[in-house]
Symmetry: D2
Subunit: 293 residues, 4 copies
C-alpha cells in the first residue's frame, strides 16, 4: 500500500522504516525537514493515491488536534485518518465526528513497543468500523511482529476503543514498573543481598516474574549497576492519569496503578507541603523535633 505518515520521531520514523521494509510506500511528513519526505502536509497529501490513507503519529492533545484539523481540510470524502498516537479516547469521538461531517473516515490505533518496535514489531489495538479495519490490515500486519495475528493485533471496538485499550495497557505498565522498582529498592537496602543485578538477571528465565520489562531492567543495570546516573525523578505522560480518571468514572478500585502514578507525582514534589504539615503536626501535639527547612 501507499500511505502518508505525519510525525517521524522515535515512533513514527521507525514505523515508516518498518513499513518500507515490508514493501509499502510511505510518504512521510515531519516539521523537521531532515527526516521529512514532503515539504508540507499539503504536498504529502497530493502525493497519495485515492482513497488517501494517512497515519498520524504526533503528541496527543493540542498537536494531534491541530494535525487532524489541518488534514481534515485537505482530505476528501472516502479518505481515512489513523490516529496512532497516545490520544485520550474521548478525543477520538470528536475527531471522528469532525471528519465524518465531510465523509473522511477515522480509525484509532494504540501502538505499543517503544523504540524496539522497528526490529520487534509493535503490538496494535485498533478502534473503528470493521470495514475500515479490514482495509488497513496490510498495514497493521506489517507493523506487528510476525506470527499469529491475534498475538499482536486486536480490533477492540468502535472508534475510541483502541486508544482506551492502549490507555489501560499503559496504566498496567505503570503498575508493573513500580512493582519491580519496589522490589529493587528492598533488595538494595538489605545487607545480606550481595548481588542485586545478578538477582534480577537470574529472574529472566524460568521464574514467574519474567517479562520484557524485566529484561529491560537487566539492561539498565548492565549499563549502570547502581543507577548512579539517574535522578529519582519520574515524568508521566497522560495515560496513567486517564486510567485513574476512568477508575473513578467506572468506580473500579485500582490501588496498584494509582499508587504507581502517585509515586511519580511524589518524585517531583520536592517541596511537599503535605509532609511539612505532618511534621508540623507532630511538633504541635508531641513536641517532637522538626527538621528545619
Amino acid at each position: 500500500m501507499h500511505i502518508g505518515m505525519i510525525g517521524l520521531g522515535k515512533m513514527g520514523g521507525n514505523m515508516r522504516e518498518r513499513l518500507r521494509r515490508a514493501g509499502h510506500t510511505v510518504t512521510g511528513y515531519d516539521r523537521n525537514p531532515d527526516v521529512s519526505d514532503a515539504a508540507s502536509v499539503q504536498e504529502m497529501v497530493a502525493a497519495l493515491p485515492t482513497p488517501r490513507i494517512v497515519w498520524v503519529m504526533v503528541p496527543a492533545g493540542a498537536i494531534t488536534d491541530s494535525v487532524v484539523g489541518e488534514l481534515g481540510g485537505l482530505l476528501e470524502a472516502g479518505d481515512l485518518i489513523i490516529d496512532g498516537g497516545n490520544s485520550r479516547f474521548t478525543d477520538d469521538a470528536r475527531h471522528a465526528a469532525e471528519l465524518g461531517a465531510k465523509g473522511v473516515r477515522f480509525v484509532d490505533c494504540g501502538v505499543s513497543g517503544g523504540v524496539w518496535g522497528l526490529e520487534n514489531g509493535y503490538g496494535l489495538m485498533a478502534g473503528g468500523s470493521a470495514e475500515d479495519i479490514a482495509e488497513l490490515m496490510p498495514i497493521f500486519d506489517s507493523l506487528r511482529p510476525e506470527g499469529e495475528r491475534a498475538d499482536s493485533f486486536v480490533h477492540v471496538g468502535e472508534v475510541g476503543a483502541g486508544h482506551y485499550a492502549k490507555m489501560v495497557h499503559n496504566g498496567i505498565e505503570y503498575g508493573l514498573m513500580q512493582a519491580y522498582a519496589e522490589g529493587y529498592e528492598l533488595l538494595e537496602h538489605k545487607d545480606i543481598i550481595k548481588d542485586v543485578p545478578g538477582t534480577f538477571k537470574a529472574w529472566q528465565k524460568g521464574t514467574v516474574v519474567r517479562s520484557w520489562l524485566l529484561d529491560l531492567l537487566v539492561n539498565a543495570l548492565d549499563e549502570d549497576p547502581e543507577l548512579a546516573q539517574v535522578a529519582p525523578w519520574v515524568e508521566d505522560s497522560g495515560e496513567g492519569r486517564w486510567t485513574v480518571e476512568e477508575a473513578i468514572a467506572e468506580a473500579v478500585p485500582m490501588p496498584v496503578i494509582t499508587s504507581a502514578l502517585f509515586a511519580r507525582f511524589a518524585s517531583r514534589d520536592d517541596a511537599s507541603p503535605q509532609l511539612k504539615m505532618v511534621s508540623a503536626l507532630r511538633h504541635q501535639f508531641g513536641g517532637h523535633a522538626v527538621k528545619k527547612a
Copy 2:
C-alpha cells in the same frame, strides 16, 4: 496515693506535676538530676510505701526493658509496675512474666495527649487484672481529664491490651494527619484558593472534619503560615509500623494507615532507588529522557 515515677521528660514530668496538683505524692527519678527527686532508682524505691507502685515513663524498647529489669530486682512481691510508655504490646507479656516470677504485679497503660496533657488531662487505655486496675483508679482518675470516666479511661483487657489500643490509636493518628495534610497540599496548589490558613481555621466549628488535630493544624499555620521553617521530612516512632505489622498478622486491609506510614518513609528516602529504576525503565523502552543525578 504515693507512687514512684521513672522518666521525667515531656510526658513523665508533666504527669508528675498533674498528679501532685491532684494531691498525690510522687517520688520521681530521672537520669537528669535537675528534674529528679531521687539520686537513684534504689533511693526512689526506698522512699515508697508498700505495696510500692512505680509508673515507668521511658522510651519503649531497650530502655524500658532495662528499667523494668532494674526495678524487678529492687521491688518485692505485691509491688506493682505500670508501663505507661509506648511499648509494643508483645513486650508486656514478657515483662509481666519476668516480674510475676517474683510476685511483682504489672499493668500496661497507653497514654495519649502529648505536651498538652498537663492542662487537658490524658486519655488512658489500661491492660491488666481487674484488681490491679481498681487499685490504681485514683491515679488514673487524676491523670485523665475531669468529667465522665468512660470518656477518657478504658480497661481494655488483660496485660498488653492497653498498649495494643494505644498502638491502634497512634495508627489512626497517622491516617488522620495524612488526610489533613493531603487536603492542605491540594489547597496550596490550587490557584483559585486565596486563603488556605483561613480555610482550615473556618473548619474548626460546625464542620464534619473538626477535631483537635485540626485545631493544632490551625496553630501551626498561625505560627508559620507557609510552613517555611519546616522540612518535608517526617520521623516515625514505632506504633505506626506495629499497627501495619498487626494488619498483616490479622489479615486486615489497612490502606489508609499504611499509606500514611509509607509517606513518612518516602519523606526520608532521598536517594529513592525505586524512582531511579522507574525512570531508567522509561528510558529503556521508550527512549524517554532521564533526569540526570
Copy 3:
C-alpha cells in the same frame, strides 16, 4: 433579611429554620408541598424584596443546573443566587457566566455540618466577589455557630473557590472516616481487646485522635455495638471523586484520600473481576486451588 430558599430537605429545611430563629424571613420552595412555603418557584420569587436573594440547596449536577436555569429566567439584574449545595467547582463558573449575562449575581458556598447543623450551626466556605459576600454576611453569620466568625466562615476566593474548599473538606472527611474504620476493624479482630466500644469512648477526651467524627462513631456503637444492622456497603457522592480528579490534575499525591475512595468502590464491587483474575493466575502458575464461584 428576607431571602428565598429552594430545596427544603435535610439540609435546606434545617437551614430555613435556623435562619428564622435568628430573625430572618425565609420564603422556601420545595417540590414537596408539605414543606414548601410557596406553590412554585415563580411564587417564591414574587414574594421577595428586591434585590432578591435566593439560596439554592438542591442536589448537585442536573438538578442544580435546572434550578439555576429556571431562577435565571425569573430573576432580574442585581438579584443574587447562592448555590449552597455540593456542586462541582467547575459548575460555578458556568452558572456565574450564564447569570452574569443578565446581571444576576452568583455566590457559591460550601456548607458542612450535616443534620446537626440546625443546633450546632454550619461551617461555611464562600466564593464570590467581596461586595456580594459582604452583603450576605447577616445570613452567613446566622447559619454558622456562635463565636468567632473566622472559626466557622471563610471567604475562600472568587466564584468556585467555596465549593473547591468544600470538596477538599469532604475528601479529608473520607480519609478521616477510613482511618478510624481501619483501627476499628483491627481492634475488632484482636482477641486480647475486650471492650472495643469502650476504647473508642475513652478516646473522646484528652487524646490526640479526639474529634467530632469520633464522637459520632461512639454514638453509632452506642446504638449498635457490633454494627449488626449495617451492611459493609458504602456509597460515595461526588466530592471524594472530584478530590482525586483534582489530585491528578494538580499532580499531588493523595494516597490516603484515594485509598478511602477505593475502599468504598470495593465495598460495592461484589463480582470483583480483578480478584477473580488474581485467583485464576495463581491457579495457572502454581496449580493453587481456586475457590469456585
Copy 4:
C-alpha cells in the same frame, strides 16, 4: 549426582523428575507412599552416598522445621541440607546454626517456576557458602532452564539470602498480578470494549507489558472467558506478608506490593467491619441511608 529429596508434591515431584531426566539419581521421600521411593526418612538417608545431600521441598514453617530437625538427627558431619521451600529468610539462620552445631552444612534456595518448571526449568536463587554452592552446581544446572547460567541462577549471598530474594520475587509477583487484574476489571467495565480476551491476547507480542504472567492470563481467559467459575477470593501464602514486613523493617515505601496484599485480604473479608463503620458514620453525620445487613 545422587541426592535425597523430601517432599514430592507439585514442586518436589517435578523437580525429582527433571533431575532424573538430567541423569542424576534421586531417592525421594514423601509421606504419601504412592510417590515415595523410601519407606521412611531414615531409609532414604541410608540410601545416600556420603557426604549426603538432601533437598527439602516441604511447606514453610512448622513442617520445614520438623523435617530439618529430623534430618539433623540422622545426618552426619559433612552432609548438606538444601531448603528449597518458601521458608522465611529468618528461619534459615536458625536452621543453619542448629545443623552447624553438628557439622551439617545448610544452603537455602528459592525456586520459582511453579507447575511449569518440569518442562521449562526453574529460576533459582541460592544462599550459602561459596564452597557449598559450587558443590551443588550440577544439581542447580539441571534444575534451571538450559542456556546461560546467569539468566536463571544466582548466588545471592550467605545463608538466608536465597530465600530473601525469593521473598522479594514473590512480592513483585503480587504487584504484577494485581496490575494486570486492575486493568482487566476496567476493560470488563467499559462498554466500548468489545473484546477483552482478545485485547490481552494481542498484548503477548511486541508490547511493553508482555510477560509470562500475561501469557498465563491469556490461558486463563481461553479456558473461561468470563472467569465464571472463579470466586473473587484470593489466598496469600507468606512471602507477600514478609515482603511488607521487610518494607517496614527497612523503611522502604512499597505501596504497590502492599496494595496487592491488601486486595487479597479484602477479598476474604466479607464481614468488613471497617466498611460497616464508614457506612454507619455517614448515617450519623449526614442522615445518609444505610444498606441494612
